[in-house]
């Protein structure tokens, strides 16, 4: 029977305000999961060890935690696979990141739920309800299929680099749900949602670190949802945010030369702030890092201009 050593984050606020770590060792079956092990430790070695869980089947989204720094669902992560992945017989177990621990592996999910609710994660159709059910073509539902699979486990939120720097960022899971409804053809709030999601700490705060896509245990790929919400903002002409202006500068560059016109990017993104940053611009210029304002022009630019004109978006 295999055995595993654990180095577990502990926080028992009833006893002490200090965080500490505790070593455990456990014999277990070949196919035991991390959740099996935590529950076994709770039952046989330390009944105070706290963990949040419910379904044990990757449906409820309760048991996400970090092992050796990587966020996983404890119920679907087998110990032997984890040890082999990390090349280590000892597993560090921590609560998910970007949250405040309440007790051991249990965190305060309140900020997550507040942000989730803020995106209006429900269908808001236009007009009165029809007499019969709304028939939606299969293709229309396939567009939002991935996002519909989100179980709100917060694995994406746990390692979001934007959130680590800006705790008010709405975050990947909420925006996946945002697209799940903004992209639903029965919803009547496309423009309103584009406005709601484009504000401070909104979709344009995403730094594209791709951790959310990497960590999601259900293949939701929240970063792709955020990207699609950006696309909807463009379709609905909600493009005043600096992030949207940044993307617009790329589109203008593409049309006028085919390559990024870096000299356009700064003033176009932040027309009010850029002129105030003269000393930085001067430093960049002194190092030859201020590019020519005359855009580079690629060969066959007409092809590109034709594509910009022709290609239709299907977000």
């Amino acid at each position: 029977m295999p055995s595993t050593r654990f180095d577990i984050f502990r926080y028992q606020p009833d006893v002490s305000d200090e965080y500490y770590r505790q070593e455990f060792s456990l014999e277990h079956t070949e196919d035991a999961t991390l959740l099996d092990a935590i529950l076994d430790l709770q039952n046989t070695q330390d009944p105070s060890l706290a963990v949040r869980y419910s379904c044990r089947s990757a449906i409820c989204g309760s048991c996400a935690c970090k092992t050796n720094g990587k966020t996983v669902l404890a119920c679907t992560s087998q110990l032997e696979s984890l040890k082999s992945e990390f090349g280590d017989d000892r597993l560090a177990v921590d609560p998910i990141g970007n949250f405040t621990p309440i007790k051991d592996l249990v965190v305060d999910m309140e900020p997550f739920w507040t942000k989730f609710k803020s995106v209006k994660p429900y269908l808001i159709p236009d007009g009165p309800p029809p007499e019969k059910e709304r028939i939606v073509p299969k293709e229309a539902m396939q567009k939002i299929e991935r996002e519909s699979a989100c179980i709100l486990c917060a694995a994406c939120y746990s390692e979001c680099n934007s959130l680590a720097a800006d705790p008010e960022f709405v975050g990947p899971a909420a925006f996946a749900w945002g697209y799940r409804f903004a992209g639903d053809e029965r919803d009547g709030q496309r423009k309103e949602r584009a406005k709601l999601y484009s504000g401070d700490h909104g979709v344009w705060d995403c730094t594209r670190c791709m951790y959310c896509n990497e960590r999601c245990p259900k293949g939701v790929e929240p970063r792709d949802a955020i990207e699609k919400l950006g696309g909807i903002a463009f379709q609905e002409k909600v493009t005043r945010d600096k992030g949207a202006r940044h993307a617009k500068a790329f589109l203008i560059s593409m049309r006028t030369g085919g390559k990024l016109n870096e000299s356009l990017l700064v003033p176009y993104t932040d027309p009010l702030g850029a002129p105030l940053d003269i000393s930085f611009a001067a430093q960049m210029m002194a190092k030859g890092k201020a590019p020519s304002p005359i855009p580079h022009r690629i060969k066959k630019l007409k092809e590109v201009q034709g594509l910009i004109k022709n290609v239709k978006e299907t977000i």
Binding site: G69, K70, E85, F86, N161, S162, A164, A165, D166, W204, D205, C206, T207, R208, C209, M210, Y211, N213, E214, E221, R223, I226, E227, G231, K242, G243, A244, R245, H246, A247, K248, F250, L251, S253, M254, G258, K259, L260, L265, T269, D270, Q283, M284, K287, G288, K289, A290, S292, I298, K299, K302, E303, V304, G306, L307, V311, K312, E313, T314, I315
Partner: protein, 293 residues
Amino acid sequence: MQQFAYYPGCVAEFSSKELNATTKTLAPMLDIELLPLPAATCCGAGDIAEAKPNLYLTLNVRILSQAEEMGVDVLTICNVCTMNLRRANKMVKEDPRVLEQVNEELVKVGARPYEGTKEVTHLLWYLATEEGLSKLEAQGPRGLNGLKVAPYYGCQLLRPSSVMGFEDPDQPQSLERLIRALGGEVADYEAKSKCCGFPIILARQEVALKESHVALSQSRDAGADCMVTPCPLCHLAMDAYQRKAESLNGTEYNMPVLHLPQLIGLALGIETSVMQFKRHMVPTDNVLEIVGA
């Protein structure tokens, strides 16, 4: 001689010319011939994808088709270009209907349709294999003289691994292998694959500079003489914006940041004037002194 369609990306072509110049000098030393792509556009850097996803896909497939016409794979020197091109390639290779739709658009404007036969690789990936390392060794590198280098991967050369797939995104080792092969010492630190913040550095500067702080402060605390990165966007965030990050975060890093080809160039004895260290915002004098360049 291994031929590639060379896709340096916009930043290396314009504001970070030192990267392009160094790569062009380094390539023939490693038996690589870089073929230009004069009609290639910007990859969109994630911004075009965020505004017009179908346009992003079509523009990137157009680039891949140009490489296909030349009969060679694409070589990049930028994380973001690599990810955008590979993602588009994956999307059309995995779904013939998507390829057909994209090709219809390409043909309409007189561009060549893509058959889906080409691959996109980054210079780091090409060199961090046994074959690549043996090419470096064949140059008889004078070495880095124990220079302590903090590898900085950034995000988009590692994640999403379903698109990138060269190495474990949580335990990457390609930069470490190169640093050691070149006679350098690795300064290890946790944040080597965290985000530099560059994609939002103009729109959300404070958030971005808090992100770059994590890797800059950790590499400093790990005792690194310098940082090395395979991405010119990360380089801008870590080098050009380093003083701003210091000011915002109330600390000093004084961390020289090298482009990957510059680190290799130092070990292989490329003239420092060719590698244009003077274009860096953070002085690299201590690095050149240790290496004896």
